[in-house]
Symmetry: C2
Subunit: 440 residues, 2 copies
Amino acid sequence: MNDNTARETQPSDRPAEHKGRILKLPLENLQTDREPHSYERWMIAKLMRMAGSPPVRFRLWNGDTVEPDDGPARFTIQLTDPKALLALVANPNLAFGDLYSAGRLQVPDGELPDLMECLYRHVHQARKQWPKWLEALWRNHAPRSTGLEEAKENIHHHYDLGNDFYSLWLDSAEMQYTCAYYESPDVTLEQAQLAKLEHVCRKLRLRPGMTVVEAGCGWGGLARYMARNYGVKVHAYNISKEQIAYARAEAKRQQLDQLIDYIEDDYRNIHGEYDAFVSIGMLEHVGKENYQALSDLIKRSLKPDGLALLHSIGRNRPMLMNAWIEKRIFPGAYPPSIGEFMGICEANDFSVIDVENLRLHYARTLAHWKERFDQNDDKVTALYDEHFTRAWRMYLSGSLAAFRAGSLQLFQVVFSHGDNNAIPQSRQDLYTFPATPEEV
Amino acid sequence: MNDNTARETQPSDRPAEHKGRILKLPLENLQTDREPHSYERWMIAKLMRMAGSPPVRFRLWNGDTVEPDDGPARFTIQLTDPKALLALVANPNLAFGDLYSAGRLQVPDGELPDLMECLYRHVHQARKQWPKWLEALWRNHAPRSTGLEEAKENIHHHYDLGNDFYSLWLDSAEMQYTCAYYESPDVTLEQAQLAKLEHVCRKLRLRPGMTVVEAGCGWGGLARYMARNYGVKVHAYNISKEQIAYARAEAKRQQLDQLIDYIEDDYRNIHGEYDAFVSIGMLEHVGKENYQALSDLIKRSLKPDGLALLHSIGRNRPMLMNAWIEKRIFPGAYPPSIGEFMGICEANDFSVIDVENLRLHYARTLAHWKERFDQNDDKVTALYDEHFTRAWRMYLSGSLAAFRAGSLQLFQVVFSHGDNNAIPQSRQDLYTFPATPEEV
């Protein structure tokens, strides 16, 4: 872990405090080649049974292995020290990611997403049988606050990591850091991201001259796409300083700045009335305690005939975010189930028009991201350090696995005021022409 | 009201007790031409203010009118006697339908659906301001039980009114008593009902040789459509004796009886595992207290790769069914909000794939039904009596108005087991060819 080298090549736009947030456990005196104790083997066997007996072999610090109970191993997890095992048993949700990031839990290259998917699927079944004390011991904690001040810090932590970093592995078309839309499996990430933007515009039934407000606009790609291809005026809100700076520069370069107003402010300060309300990948960061306020905001921001679209990571049922992701990667994150999502709609008598689950599209998106990330991991390490690179590889792999295993969903929900009869008659118009551009 | 004449022409397949269920208030000594008291005028003014001041004129028993507070009247409600006014003020949700059925509340021909829509829209806004005591006084009651025995009686009450009766105004193609699907506004009811069946089959991604279980199959049209057009085997459940008899005869006539098993039994007794679980228009009658059991049933009835589709009337937020509809027309009915619907999905970790709201399609369907009903109202009166005819005109008009006003929704929800990765990649395949047949 060449921490110092990384620091020297660090670009000026990356705030220094980010590194500190990816927690590093003390590394002194951990390596050991002593014989494993019998209770350590017992703990691994117990841990694996609690995880639903996945086909996983453990390789211990001295080279010894513990094979799975039933059937041959498909995956190998290597632990570099006895304390890693203790941490894993005490709180696997949090420790798995931390230990992997620190290099104390190792998985052969390429196996990580498949191993994670296998673990998710087994644990998902097994946890129904867990005793209460184990559920309590291993449970994920509640997400931290998403109040006005905290939200700024939460978003800063993740989205201000530097445009240089994200451009290493996001699409080059519009820097979309949300689920793409794959009309066919062989399109590129760039095509699929533009198809997503097109799909969203179609769902909103945009027409020239309409006004749109976007809550959480990322690097501003959707706003530019809407202005460029649909001739609408967009107010796009974001509290990430770096993303807004990028978005404004890009809109100016593309001569779209007359149509788009990028506003560096919290979505809660949106004002005015619009033909469409759209938010792509922000709801996960809003926090359930703010759903009523979000609902009220949409109520007053949407014209009588307007359509709203929220695109968000979600769950099949209410469930806390994985502890490691919430703690190390996405502070404050909470993906809602549709039932929880409906809190937003039912609070103001909105009428749900269309819900689409794009879970497997997000798995494909993440596979594309991870491929590019892996290709550029030396550059990421040069920007940050190896600990950071490993943490992000874990995050991308774990997310990919979660979408594949069905632990995470991706919902696009279209809704309107409850008494609006100008709603689309059907969804045929979304599918008349391909949404995917021929080339990018 | 020629009650006796109607009784004589009553077909043998109509159980006698039905007539009794459409309550008739005593009619003695009600007609009066006395001057209205000033407190009666005051009550009307108060009632209209509580209803949000709709543009409605009241014409009283002696010919006097009470004009709306603000602006000119668009509709006229005529009351034949002072007690009708008292009943209306005491419990408008229930009395409006009862008084209309009895001919004591009259509305000029053709105005009824528009008047109802106007009332729904005004009341919907106004009730937010109601004091608690008024909310309590006028509230709809909880639906009656939908236990195994009660469900039989509830369904018998409505669906066993006689195939002769329903064939007077339902489509002649497949006797569909649920929302049709209008790909364009100018198709016939028959075309739109067949398009609905096709749309549902496409959403289930049926392929030849698959097995399907249908809960609540009506006159069996969907099962026959699936067998005929998709070569699947169907187990179709229904507790309505008359509908099952019709369905079996029709399947035999069409030589589809090798592929379809119509089973006269409660959905709760479904057994076996199927590639698809489908239910069109039954969930409204299931009752919230049975959602967990329904969820468990779908869990065990659906193969790992299977898809489930529930099509149901719903709400934008939890709300009791209109008292008159629940009491006189649909005992036990409760249309759920999506949030409530999610109780079924979240209880067993199902993954919601697709939700479509076809509210305006149901308004169009009801307009078609009502048109045919009105054309045949003399035949309906001959089968039953005028009170019955007026009750059903009220029910069809009120439902049409509720779908137009946004008080009722129509949801089609597709879901699968949470860990199923054989889910459809997108919805493009639903829209490749028209679902509507060229002619019927």
